[in-house]
């Protein structure tokens, strides 16, 4: 099967087939094979950046932490490999996997070489990255005639350059590390969009719905994927940096706050400045309670931990209330459920990390990231149907479907 539909289970917003007197959405209109491909590639590639950065950082610190980070990164690679195999066959998937793993290895080598001031090792890593870049570009161009050598090389240069920049900064300029990480993360959405567009052009009969996939509604969905997924990963970074010194913790927290500013802007762009401000109040409180929880777990303070948990749990309800007031096309119960699951991910992630279960913490962090896609799908669909003139200009939206929506618990796709 040359479709990535199986890989997108966690994106699916479960439509409950029961009558609803309330608002409705034309949810299926946005969920096409082509849009699923775009969303999933964007998500896996952007996840790759954060996991790579975490492996780079862990490679300089704790062996157990590095093993866990490397394991999570490998799991991401396996999923990417499966996605490519689903399109270009098993052999293509394996070739992709080899190349992809090589570039990760070179980046980690580069990071360690820089830290050890080992110029020879650094040069070997740089040479390896250059070879990889040529080989990977050749692989992609041979696989898809809609990709040009020039375009692919340019994109790979950017990606490797960004990772190198992050590696060079790992030694202490945490503010710059997070700024560069956010840039590299955003860049992967461009790469995912370019690849998915080329694949859709190559296989239009299988990846149908290209007009929706690359239209404004899916742009919105991807933008929310970007921001909410970044939130999940930066929250994990704040947790990991909590015992890494105040500079590192504050830089991670700054990055999380900057992500919140972007989310506020997105909400304000749709619902106005007052709504953006109201949303920001809730969201900042959410971040604050999360840090409270991290601190309480590390300090083994049960009272503070319970108080923070209550604050986080209340947050889901407040966001639900916010969207009730903003739109009658977004199910507040679905938002509450989705955010409740998000809260659960955050809490369990911190609990696992605090207990030294790094592998568990990374696994939960990955689930948290994927789950944010379900929330962004829910929100984007509701918003697109609320403002069809803006987000669905070329899509014939049928009469509303009489059913409420709920976010299904996200499960990461099983690698092929």
């Amino acid at each position: 099967m040359r479709s990535l539909r199986l890989l997108t289970l966690c994106l699916v917003v479960t439509a409950l087939a029961i009558a609803s007197p309330g608002p409705v959405t034309a949810i299926d209109e946005l969920d096409t094979p082509a849009s699923d491909l775009r969303v999933e590639l964007d998500r896996l590639l952007s996840e790759h950046v954060f996991l790579t950065v975490q492996a780079m950082h862990a490679g300089l610190t704790d062996e157990d932490l590095f093993a866990a980070a490397a394991g999570a990164l490998e799991a991401n690679t396996v999923e990417l490999e499966g996605a490519i195999a689903g399109i270009y066959g098993e052999e293509g998937g394996l070739r992709f996997g080899d190349l992809w793993r090589a570039h990760i290895g070179y980046v980690v080598d580069y990071t360690r070489a820089r830290d050890a001031a080992d110029e020879d090792a650094e040069q070997r890593a740089v040479d390896g990255m250059a070879t990889y870049q040529d080989d990977f570009a050749a692989f992609l161009v041979a696989a898809n005639p809609h990709l040009t050598q020039e375009t692919v090389t340019h994109v790979l240069e950017d990606h490797l350059g960004q990772l190198q920049q992050i590696a060079e900064l790992q030694s202490g300029d945490y503010v710059a590390v997070y700024a560069a990480t956010r840039t590299a993360y955003g860049h992967m959405f461009e790469l995912g969009d370019s690849l998915s567009r080329a694949i859709v052009e190559q296989f239009p009969g299988e990846f149908t719905g290209a007009d929706v996939a690359f239209g404004p509604a899916t742009d919105l969905r991807v933008a929310l994927d970007n921001l909410l997924g970044e939130h999940a990963f930066l929250a994990a970074e704040v947790m990991r940096q909590a015992d890494g010194g105040p500079d590192a913790e504050l830089a991670a927290s700054d990055a999380l706050a900057a992500n919140g500013v972007s989310l506020r802007a997105a909400i304000a762009d749709i619902y106005g400045d007052d709504a953006g401000r109201e949303f920001a109040d809730i969201w900042e409180g959410h971040n604050g309670f999360y840090v409270d929880y991290v601190r309480a777990v590390f300090a083994d303070d049960a009272v503070a931990r319970d108080r923070a948990r209550e604050g986080l749990e209340e947050f889901g309800g407040r966001v639900g209330d916010f969207f009730v007031s903003a739109s009658n096309l977004i199910s507040p119960d679905a938002v509450r459920f989705g955010l409740s699951t998000h809260t659960d991910h955050l809490l369990r992630q911190v609990d696992a990390y605090g207990a030294g279960d790094y592998e568990g913490a990374f696994s939960i962090a990955r689930d948290a990231h994927h789950h944010m896609g379900a929330i962004s799908d829910l929100l984007a669909t509701g918003i697109a149907n609320q403002f069809p003139e803006r987000f669905l200009p070329d899509t014939a939206v049928e009469a509303v479907i009489q059913r409420p929506v709920a976010v299904g618990t996200c499960t990461r796709p099983v690698p092929r």
Partner: protein, 257 residues
């Protein structure tokens, strides 16, 4: 946000506060400060209220990515703690989110709580009011140098906010902010402030003179004034806001002379 009807007591309190500040301002003789500006207010640009809004991730501003935060080394200083060397330093960073802040005297309809602003780690105190409120903290320090970082959220038309320090001799040193701008003296035009941006208010005492400065996020002077005083002792720091206004306070520090 719930709507609460006007509280006459609050109105009186706010009015008195404003009158007191106005009276103080009236006695201030302003001259331009020749001192070098204080250290930059190393704060993120904030929420960017009123800026162009776009959906994709916005890259952090240069200010965010490069400026060291003044609380980059957050210390677990409990709010209200006064060190033995007569230095007060409140950064609110280790207090729980949304917690009420102890040791402050609150009046009016509103609350002083810990906010995860500008970041979840580098926290501040938020005073907002549905109808006007003040939050004051007693001091007992020979006035030397005072720093207070503040950020305003939206200031509606006719709205007013104020930072002030009361001195033992009855003088009030005040910074007033309205929708027309900020004033720290009576002879200057209001200086425009950008909502969502951090500023630093600085009070210094040298010889027989108090200097008042308002600094922007990059440390540049926005406004300044001087007035003569005699060896003042600071008795109270206050924030006051009118209806619908929110103000954030951080890095409040006072060092005895």
């Amino acid at each position: 946000m719930p709507t609460v009807g006007p509280d006459p007591r609050t109105l009186v309190i706010v009015a008195l506060l404003i009158l007191l500040a106005a009276a103080t301002v009236a006695i201030i003789t302003m001259t331009l400060l020749s001192d070098e500006p204080d250290a930059p207010v190393s704060r993120p640009a904030g929420g960017g209220l009123g800026s162009a809004l776009v959906l994709p991730t916005m890259a952090p501003s240069a200010a965010i990515s490069s400026a060291p935060s003044p609380s980059a080394n957050p210390s677990p200083t409990p709010a209200g703690e006064v060190a033995g060397s007569e230095i007060i330093a409140l950064d609110f960073d280790m207090l729980p989110t949304e917690a009420e802040i102890p040791d402050w005297r609150l009046t009016g309809v509103g609350g002083l709580r810990v906010a995860a602003v500008p970041t979840a780690v580098d926290r501040s105190a938020r005073l907002d009011a549905t109808d006007g409120a003040t939050a004051c903290r007693r001091l007992d320090v020979a006035l030397g140098t005072l720093h207070a970082d503040f950020m305003l959220d939206t200031v509606p038309g006719g709205g007013r906010a104020q930072l002030s320090v009361d001195l033992e001799d009855g003088t009030t040193l005040a910074l007033m902010v309205t929708d027309a701008g900020a004033m720290i003296g009576d002879s200057s035009d209001p200086v425009s402030l950008e909502p969502g941006t951090w500023y630093r208010w600085v009070v210094t005492h040298e010889a027989a003179e108090v200097g008042l400065q308002l600094l922007s996020a990059d440390g540049a002077p926005v406004a300044d004034a001087r007035l003569p005083v005699d060896d003042p002792r600071a008795t109270e720091f206050c924030m006051g806001v009118g209806a619908g206004i929110r103000i954030y306070l951080d890095q409040l520090s006072m060092e005895a002379r």
